[in-house]
Symmetry: C2
Subunit: 257 residues, 2 copies
């Protein structure tokens, strides 16, 4: 029997990460915050970083005043009761509109994530600005990991997270939109249960569950952009791995919709 | 600034919960397992219990040999390459078939959850048997909580969990199909961010994220049915509350599908 203590999970917010701005050094901010909280970061740890923090340091902020909405955006905005400049930004970030009704705009982003407003939002950014999702959150995760490796001598795994709605169930859950060094999926097909039968549970979305776990301890007012998660060593790998794009279902294979 | 340590989350599997059978006393098994692991259970804790364990003690097992498939089940089984008796059980548990193609059968259960095979599955049960979801997992959670309160003098919150697939994203995540004493949703609408603006993040599906967090430490071979989660005190309430049905979106309001 496996020792329970060996597989306990712990998630702790890094309270001392400061408000971030374009060009800020996120790795440095994390290292300093961990030091201030007397939390050591090791290669077996996972850091879950809120998308907003990554978008800010990467300068993925737009001023609504600078956006010139086109005809399709204006029409859609009219129908939804939204700001046409906001809708223009959403369309710019999307390859497909999935739903546009009752004030809600759900699209598939250029990266392939399906979410409300293509992840464009105005909370936790200065008034008049909105934030876009990082251009390539897997790349953001890999870069942050490399920079932490350089500073710490060892590299924690990184997940870039965002909160998404989902069909059929109320509430949003926080999922992984980028990752490096964490196995995003745990494929259990072929493994057997305690009675020797194949498991019905097939593939666990580890990166999404880890992002959700981190979210449970993070203040949502933007003051806690990073959560340290311990106890996922068995999913943490030296190579950066496929990233969160591995979590995206091929449209052709998507039987739910 | 909030002290990080005060809001850390911890999840520990109860390794000593034995293999369960119909009629077994789940509360007693949990109390004994916690004692054996020297883990105290308090009123601020959450216990996430795998659906399979609840189904077993409630006798929600069926022998495939006893199932007489009707014509619709036989036709669907033929199309999907499935056992017609299994399909009959799935249809019995469902109000609506959402998708039936490529060997996959997704339905809406009588309770309103949308998942593969209405939660009917054969892993972690003796050969020839399949398990159905608990008839009313919120009631199961409330009963278990009451029984734990009787035995311990205080009542932890309870989540009954199962792993569900989801549209657009690969892998399953573990979600709450029953709950008692845990606020299933954290409604943040109207709250403000650090800059004084309203949060875009609206309603967090706390119970689903907690179920997913627990899943990250649980052995999937059925030997660890229960996970103790600490650090969610702010979502734990004395009243049992609305249960996991509060997580179900009204069909009319479901814009995603």
């Amino acid at each position: 029997m496996v020792d329970s203590a060996a597989r306990s999970l712990e998630a702790v917010p890094l309270s001392y990460v400061p408000e971030l701005e374009p060009g800020d050094d996120l790795a440095l901010a994390i290292v300093q915050a961990a030091e201030r909280a007397s939390l050591g970061i090791s290669g077996g740890d996972l850091l879950v970083v809120a998308q907003k923090a990554v978008s800010k340091v990467e300068g993925r902020l737009r001023s609504l005043a600078d956006v010139e909405p086109g005809e399709p955006a204006a029409e859609l905005a009219e129908k939804l009761g939204k700001d046409p400049r906001m809708v223009q930004l959403v369309l710019d970030e999307s390859t497909e509109v999935i739903r546009a009704e009752q004030g809600i705009l759900i699209t598939r982003t250029r990266l392939g994530h399906v979410c409300a407003n293509a992840g464009v939002d105005s909370s936790n950014v200065p008034r008049g600005l909105v934030s876009l999702l990082p251009e390539d959150p897997d790349l953001s995760a890999r870069r942050l990991r490399a920079e932490l490796r350089r500073r710490l001598g060892e590299a924690p795994a990184i997940v870039v997270s965002d909160s998404f709605g989902r069909p059929w169930r109320l509430g949003q859950t926080v999922v992984a939109i980028g990752c490096a060094g964490l196995q995003p999926l745990d494929d259990m097909r072929g493994r057997r249960d305690a009675l020797g039968q194949e498991l019905d549970a097939t593939v666990a979305a580890v990166a999404d569950e880890a992002a959700g776990a981190a979210s449970l301890v993070r203040a949502k007012d933007g003051r806690e952009a990073v959560v340290l998660v311990r106890g996922l060593e068995r999913y943490i790998v030296d190579a950066d791995g496929p990233g969160a794009v591995a979590l995206l279902r091929d449209r052709a294979e998507d039987l739910f919709t």
